[in-house]
Amino acid sequence: MLYMKNLIFQIDTEMNINLARKKREFVINLRGDNYILKHAAADFLDKIKRHDRRNSI
């Protein structure tokens, strides 16, 4: 029973990870060629701001 539970949990994990990738690919295709570049730039700036805020407290 425990083996079955673990097996089902493992299959769930793999399916969800693969689904997450499909969703990412869908969004990137939907938003166009430069989306990943723009996302990376925006996220880069957001992370720096978070770092600065953390260090200013």
Binding site: Q10, D12, T13, E14, N16, I17, N18, L19, A20, R21, K23, R24, V27, I28, N34, I36, L37, K38, H39, A40, A41, A42, D43, F44, L45, D46, K47, I48, K49, R50, H51, R53, R54
Partner: protein, 170 residues
Amino acid sequence: MTEETLFRQLLDNNIPFILIGGTALAAYGSSRITIDTDIAVKTLDIDKIISLFYSLNLKMVIGVDKNQYPLFAENSNEAIIFSNKSDWGFIKFLSEDLELDVLYDIPLPFIHLLKSAQSKKVFGIEIKTASLDHLLIMKEKAVQNRENSEKKELDKIDIAFIKDKLKNNH
């Protein structure tokens, strides 16, 4: 370039890493869309990681231009010099179709993260994934320092997901 290739290369080069962020949450069943993949690493491994990723044709982001596009270090030496000067606690790598964040300034000591990490099969590879308790600590810290309201909302969704999972696990 795929996550599998990067994960395998890190494992083959004995560079310990832990999956965190949205992809880690997907491994626990979250349905939220995530664009980038986040991993936590030891600070001492940063130079090695930069050299490895440049050999795989990834590029490290070092700034943003006036059109809001990323600027990259041209080669691994430039990237290493830049990362040694920066105190941001993360480095961001990009290939044509993959965005990977490597975090080394995290709210928890790496060793604690590693000790509580769970092994999960991610893209066919057994990967150390941060525990739900630790993912919660990191998300709660992130939401405190976030200005971007859209991302703040996503953090709140993630926190609710983790708390729900933890409640069901106990």
